[in-house]
């Protein structure tokens, strides 16, 4: 092989990947770098954005408990949404996988339904149901379960319900995928050794789909923590989360640098949590599932 050819061979993968790399750099890396830079700029009511480097925005976020409260709320909502989505989605996937073919397809479409509806239409639908004269409250009051309408709108409960509705499918898909990989004979083996239905589920099936549950949970957490439309419509101005806070700083206060700092902090926190839990999952299950 000639040297020129060797050199070409060495460059070939890079050349082949170049278009995708350029696209990635152009639409992902550059905006992120610019946002990070923006977060270090100064801003004033009358002077606008000043392109100097200052830690003012970061200092403000670190010291003002207002921001701490919003980030705490963001991750509390995300965590609650994740736990509930897993508790609903994992059993749902198992039941689906046990269904006979015609019904399985029908129910799978129903489960994935929320993903097919526009986020705004879906969330406004929830807003209609949630109102003090909405269907849910009217039903609850008429049935005598509660005396006065429950406050769903502009509460964390409402936001969590709205998020769970749209994020459960991600758990279902993820768990479904790991259930498909199960050898049905393994369950038979456990049964033949004397395992009852519940024992087999808990000790044989659950540990095997755990990687699927955890990866589904990571996806749900990331999407819930960075969700915008649902907290914006159901949570409104009164119940801000990190993404709606960044939006408000950008478009209402026009304090772009502060908004950028909030967005960057959300990005860093999420990335750290996701990479950390992914590491954990991989290390925990490497021995067994690779």
């Amino acid at each position: 092989m000639s040297t020129a050819e060797t050199a070409y061979r060495g460059r070939a993968p890079w050349l082949l990947a170049a278009p995708a790399l350029l696209l990635f750099a152009g639409i992902v890396l550059v905006p992120i770098v610019m946002t990070v830079l923006l977060s270090f700029h100064d801003w004033g009511q009358y002077k606008g954005i000043e392109t100097i480097i200052t830690l003012k925005n970061w200092h403000e976020i670190a010291t003002d408990s207002y921001f701490f409260e919003i980030f705490l709320r963001t991750f509390r909502i995300a965590l609650l949404t994740t736990v509930i989505s897993v508790l609903i989605g994992a059993p749902e996937a198992y039941i689906l996988s046990r269904m006979a073919p015609p019904w399985r397809g029908v129910f799978l479409v129903i489960v994935l339904g929320p993903l097919l509806i526009s986020v705004v239409a879906r969330t406004l639908g929830w807003a209609l149901l949630f109102g003090s004269t909405g269907l849910i409250n009217v039903a609850l009051v008429r049935l005598g379960i509660v005396a006065t309408p429950v406050q769903f709108m502009f509460t964390e409960t409402g936001v969590v319900i709205g998020l769970v509705h749209v994020l459960v499918p991600f758990v279902v898909i993820s768990v479904w995928a790991s259930l498909q990989r199960l050898d049905p004979q393994i369950e038979n083996a456990a049964v033949s050794l004397g395992g009852s239905g519940f024992t087999v589920l808990r000790r044989i099936v659950l540990p095997q789909v755990m990687p699927g549950i955890l990866s589904g949970a990571i996806v749900v957490f990331a999407l819930a923590a960075s969700a915008f439309a649902t907290p914006a419509i159901i949570g409104g101005r009164r119940l801000k989360v990190a993404s709606t806070l960044a939006y408000d700083e950008f478009l209402n206060t026009l304090n772009w640098p502060l908004g950028a700092a909030v967005a960057v902090l959300l990005l860093i926190a999420l990335a750290a949590i996701i990479v950390g839990s992914n590491r954990f999952v991989e290390r925990r299950y490497a021995e067994v599932f690779r």
Binding site: I186, N188, G194, I204, F289
Partner: protein, 343 residues
């Protein structure tokens, strides 16, 4: 009364009949193989014994118990699956201990019995290994230990060796047989591999289209196949058109004495390894000669069609390709069945 009895066991799937009135009596400690091509109903039979498939009709008795409607978890049978079906998230020892835990065996006894089971299958050092880190043969042994550790009344083996390579399969056959002899567990093996069935079993059940063609000891079944299906399924066999007149069998130009046989048209079945070369007999030309180590495989074209001959590689001369020769065999090596029945 036998230990395990299948009475008129039948399983239908809609119109199709997977198992059609199978009856079988297995003695305590016996090793019985269900042998047949795919779709013959052997696996369905095993699954009915295990309880994973419910019989459409008929019954299963184990000793004094009627197993027919007993749940699989309560049958107390040991099963080795074709895919081994080991629990991937448990070590070898944990896999084996599972059945003991389900039976509420005390922890110290569990540990002892798991160690004994691992030693029995020759895996004493691998108790903490996960299935993914084991070879196929080792996984196979863990699966066997897991099935045996609960001291099952009956051990069911579902094509347990089919995923192993040829050499390992032979080793495992010998070992499986030795382990079964040691523990004395009544064993039912499902296989499509006739040499495996012959190597392991006390008795073989050859199944075809949901019913038993023949139930016999391996040697008996090989030498006196009851039907053409059995003859063809167990090893290679030549089926040649023959006529009998006045106690003489005529096949092509060859003649054999057959005292006491009625006159008429017959099918003569001869095993390829029972055929030798001689000066007279069935004349033919060697079409192909294949060396297979300890024997030669020859295809000889004769007046009555191609005949397969297996000749031991014992130093005697083997006719070359294209050579003309005569095929001979003893009268007692030939099974005559009336021509109509042979199809």
């Amino acid at each position: 009364m036998s230990f395990l009895e299948l009475q008129d066991l039948t399983r239908r799937y809609g119109e199709a009949v997977a198992v059609d009135g199978l009856s079988l009596a297995v003695e305590k400690g016996e090793f019985v193989s269900l042998l047949g091509p795919s779709g013959c109903g052997k696996t369905t039979t095993l699954q009915m014994i295990a309880g994973f498939v419910e019989p459409s009709a008929g019954g299963i008795r184990l000793g004094e118990r009627d197993l027919t409607r007993v749940k699989p978890a309560a049958r107390g049978l040991g099963i080795v699956f074709q895919s081994y079906a080991l629990f991937p998230h448990m070590t070898a020892a944990e896999n084996i201990a599972f059945g003991l835990q389900m039976r509420g065996v005390a922890k110290p006894e569990q540990v002892k019995r798991v160690a004994d089971a691992l030693a029995l299958v020759g895996l004493a050092g691998l108790s903490d290994r996960y299935p993914r880190r084991m070879s196929g043969g080792q996984q196979q042994r863990v699966a066997l230990a897991r099935a045996l550790v609960i001291k099952p009344d009956v051990l069911l083996l579902d094509e347990p060796l089919s995923n192993l390579d040829a050499k390992l399969r032979e080793e495992m056959q010998v070992e499986l047989r030795a382990i079964q002899r040691t523990v004395g567990t009544t064993t039912i093996l499902v296989t499509h591999d006739q040499s495996e069935a012959m190597a392991l079993s006390d008795r073989i059940v050859v199944m075809n289209r949901g019913h038993a063609e023949q139930v016999a000891r391996p040697t008996e079944m090989y030498q006196q196949p009851a039907t053409a299906f059995v003859a063809n399924f167990l090893g290679k066999i030549n089926v040649l058109p023959a006529t009998v007149t006045a106690g003489v069998v005529t096949i092509g130009a060859g003649r054999w004495a057959a005292p006491g046989s009625a006159d008429g048209r017959f099918s003569a079945s001869v095993r390829p390894e029972r055929i030798g070369f001689g000066a007279d007999g069935l004349a033919g030309t060697v079409k192909a000669r294949i060396f297979q180590g300890h024997h030669w495989l020859l295809q000889v074209a004769t007046d009555v069609g191609l005949v397969t001959v297996i000749a031991p590689n014992d130093g005697r001369a083997i006719p070359n390709e294209g050579a003309t020769t005569h095929l001979t065999w003893r009268t007692e090596d030939m099974v005559l069945t009336p021509a109509e029945r042979a199809t």
